[in-house]
């Protein structure tokens, strides 16, 4: 059969319809980070909210300096400070309802504390007496996640499970600019969008992943632009403007709660301290950049707004400072006590029931400890113990 003959039978039809399933336009972030403080729109903000944010920021800053001080005193093994990022940390906690869940990254102990977790418990990981120091169910805060971005799929799964159970619970998951490069970030956002899970992703773009600047991390117009590739809205916000972050996150949380699906929020901020107390930031960045950002300080930005609008008197300032000092003093005092440790805990929580293998090892350690105690209490009788 020739082509010509075949063509008699050939009935060309229009190609199968192409319909983009989501209109990309509303998903794209604005060109500039959203700001409220210092703009006219700030006049519309609830004064009580601003004052609350202020008190929390003051306390958050104090928490950061206190925790850093504790590393110098050897009371914390390490501390990744969120100084300069307090607006994000505090707003993340405040944007949630009690029944919601927070999924923090390793830098976010402040958000964890702002959500109500005892500061000493929040710092247990960094003090080194256990891993997660708090009961995640008490305040609905997942364990601080050290492996970057791995907590994001957890947040999606939890939010999805809640929805399946009919609970109107939202999960808010935090991650750094560096963490957005991990495969887990991609997979989590994709699952969230496909499942329309009630989850909000907050990327704190603080300019660095340890020493690696954003320009070596991504070539994207912004990290918020990644949202469109998953079919969810991306929002760009000034991460040092507590009112703006709070508003954007609250909107996203509301949207998620109402069944509108996930949102990706990029908060543009800056890590003014070194990566941790163990890091030497002078190896990879100059003072000038840090200085610029110090002058865009989240606490000061809010303080200025409140002051200019006459919403902050000395009394309130003192009250905030005193509360912060009291928190710090309490933290200091409690962290200065030695942690109580039972070496047998090594075996207590590996499984619901220890395996026979673990029971043997537990007995070995118990015998060692008993022998140690004996040697310590009795006269020194020589030998290798």
């Amino acid at each position: 059969m020739t082509v010509m003959e075949q063509r008699g039978a050939y009935r060309p039809t229009p190609p199968p319809a192409w319909q983009p399933r989501t209109d990309p336009a509303p998903l794209l972030p604005d060109a500039e980070p959203y700001r409220v403080l210092g703009t006219k729109a700030a006049g519309q903000l609830d004064p009580e909210l601003l004052r609350t944010l202020y008190a929390r920021l003051v306390s958050g800053r104090r928490y950061n300096t206190q925790a850093t001080a504790l590393t110098k005193q050897g009371r914390l093994a390490v501390y990744p400070s969120s100084t300069g990022q307090e607006a994000c940390e505090v707003a993340a906690a405040l944007a949630l309802e009690e029944r919601d869940w927070l999924f923090p990254s390793y830098r976010d102990t402040l958000a964890v504390v702002a959500r109500g977790v005892d500061p000493v418990e929040a710092l247990t990981l960094l003090r080194g007496d256990w891993h997660t120091g708090y009961d995640p169910y008490e305040h609905r805060v997942a364990p601080l996640s050290t492996p970057l971005a791995t907590q994001l799929p957890h947040a999606v799964g939890l939010a999805h499970a809640a929805r399946l159970k009919g609970d109107d619970v939202v999960a808010l998951a935090m991650v750094g600019d560096g963490g957005t490069s991990e495969g887990d970030f991609h997979e989590a956002l994709n699952f969230a969008a496909v499942w329309q899970a009630p989850v909000v992703f907050l990327v704190q773009n603080n300019g660095f992943a340890i020493s690696v600047p954003l320009a070596k991390q991504t070539a994207a117009p912004s990290l918020a632009h990644k949202a469109v590739g998953y079919g969810m809205p991306g929002r760009l916000v000034d991460g040092n403007d507590a009112a703006a972050v709070h508003e954007v996150l609250s909107d996203a949380v509301r949207r998620a709660r109402e069944g509108g699906g996930p949102t990706l929020v990029e908060a543009v901020t800056y890590r003014v301290e070194a990566h941790t107390n163990a890091d030497d930031a002078t190896r990879y960045r100059g003072d000038a950049e840090v200085e610029t950002w110090r002058r865009h300080d989240p606490v000061e930005l809010l303080e200025r707004e409140l002051t200019e609008r006459g919403l902050l008197d000395e009394e309130r300032v003192s009250a905030a400072r005193e509360a912060a000092e009291a928190m710090a003093a309490d933290l200091r005092a409690r962290m200065n006590q030695d942690a109580e440790l039972d070496p047998m805990d090594l075996f207590a929580h590996v499984y619901a029931e220890p395996t026979p293998q673990l029971r043997e090892q537990r007995d070995l350690l118990r015998a060692e400890l008993a022998a140690e105690a004996e040697t310590a209490s009795g006269a020194s009788e020589g030998g290798h113990r």
Binding site: W130, H131, T132, D135, P136, Y137, A142, P143, P147, T150, L152, P153, H154, A155, V156, G157, L158, A159, H160, A161, A162, L164, K165, A171, G183, D184, H186, E187, A188, N190, F191, V194, D345, A348, H349, V350, Y351, A352, T355, P356, Q357
Partner: protein
């Protein structure tokens, strides 16, 4: 009171039934993975579950194993009991970080506050003519990860019982399904499945007094065959089916070896750094003075899993097992 076998069932059918019964008994049980919905999984183990329980209970996920397991972790945090299907052994590797850093550790990290009752089903091993990356024996990776249970059935009845027990466990279980046994049949009555025993108990599948073959999963049938063949050589072999690698049933394995005085560990996984080293070492530690010969290992070679046309040379077969039994220094006895 003995169970009446209605008709032969395949291991795949027993697994399906286990999932079905678990889902019917407990609304917290959710099945998820690639192609587990309408298709019923590439091995049809989830056949019919989406139709019976709906897509929210048996969910086709996007194609991303770390995402599947990572979201399952979140679901377990919220009180569900996810049963995750990894399509093939080698395609579980993208989820390895989630397995090691979260699944295995969550209970311990949180001092028991946040247990993760989830089951990871992994079809594993070769013998089905699969192309590369479809026949890995990955049990060594999971065994070396404290916090996981590692379970693998070798019979149709155990497929049901062990999977039910795994789903019921409050700890994460890596449930390894021997691919080449999916279509193995046995008389087994789905209406009266055997009681669900706790995981962690090995079983003697064949009694003997000359030597013990210690094995599990895909290699059990080969060992049973070898034990039959060994009679011609005058050897009466005992065969131990471990059923669970973690926890390890030292008692059953060692009792057998103390009786027989000789042992060969048989598995399909590579030898070097594989499960056999652990098993041989721990049996030797416990039974040294009962041993007439070193515990030997018959295992896959330490090579990437071969292409289909060469796999028969790789897999431990009856001859290789009997050769090893022959090397158990019988002269020492006579």
């Amino acid at each position: 009171m003995t169970t009446v076998a209605v008709k032969p069932a395949t291991m795949a059918q027993a697994l399906t039934r286990a999932l079905r019964d678990a889902m019917a008994d407990d609304p917290a049980v959710h099945v998820m993975g690639e192609d587990v919905g309408a298709l019923g999984g590439v091995f049809r183990v989830t056949d019919g579950l989406a139709a019976e329980f709906g897509e929210d209970r048996c969910t086709d996920t996007p194609l991303a194993e770390a995402g599947i397991l990572g979201t399952a972790v979140g679901m377990a945090m919220y009180g569900l009991r996810p049963v995750v299907e990894m399509q093939f052994d080698a395609f579980a590797y993208p989820a390895f970080e989630q397995v090691v850093s979260h699944v295995a550790k969550m209970r311990n990290r949180t001092r028991g506050k946040m247990p993760l009752p989830l089951t990871i089903r992994v079809p594993y091993g070769g013998g089905i003519g699969g192309v590369e990356h479809h026949s890995d024996s990955s049990e060594a990776y999971y065994m070396a990860t404290p916090g996981l249970h590692v379970v693998t059935p070798a019979t149709v009845a155990d497929a049901y019982g062990l999977l039910r027990a795994s789903i019921a466990s409050d700890d994460p279980v890596v449930f390894l399904e021997p691919k080449r046994l999916y279509w193995s049949k046995d008389t087994w009555n789905p209406e009266e499945p055997a009681p669900v025993e706790p995981i962690g108990r090995a079983v003697v599948r064949r009694s003997g007094r000359s030597a013990t073959l210690i094995t599990y999963g895909p290699s059990l049938a080969v060992c049973m065959e070898a034990a039959e063949a060994a009679r011609a050589e005058g050897w009466d072999l005992e065969v131990v089916d471990l059923r669970s690698l973690v926890p390890f049933d030292d008692e059953t394995a060692c009792a057998s070896v103390r009786r027989t005085g000789r042992a060969v560990v048989v598995h399909e996984s590579g030898s070097f750094g594989g499960p056999g080293g652990e098993i041989a070492a721990r049996v030797t530690e416990r039974c040294f003075h009962h041993l007439e010969a070193p515990v030997l290992r018959v295992a896959g070679f330490d090579v990437p899993y071969p292409p289909p046309m060469l796999e028969r040379h790789h897999l431990p077969g009856v001859d290789r097992i009997l050769d090893a039994v022959g090397r158990l220094q019988w002269e020492a006895e006579s």
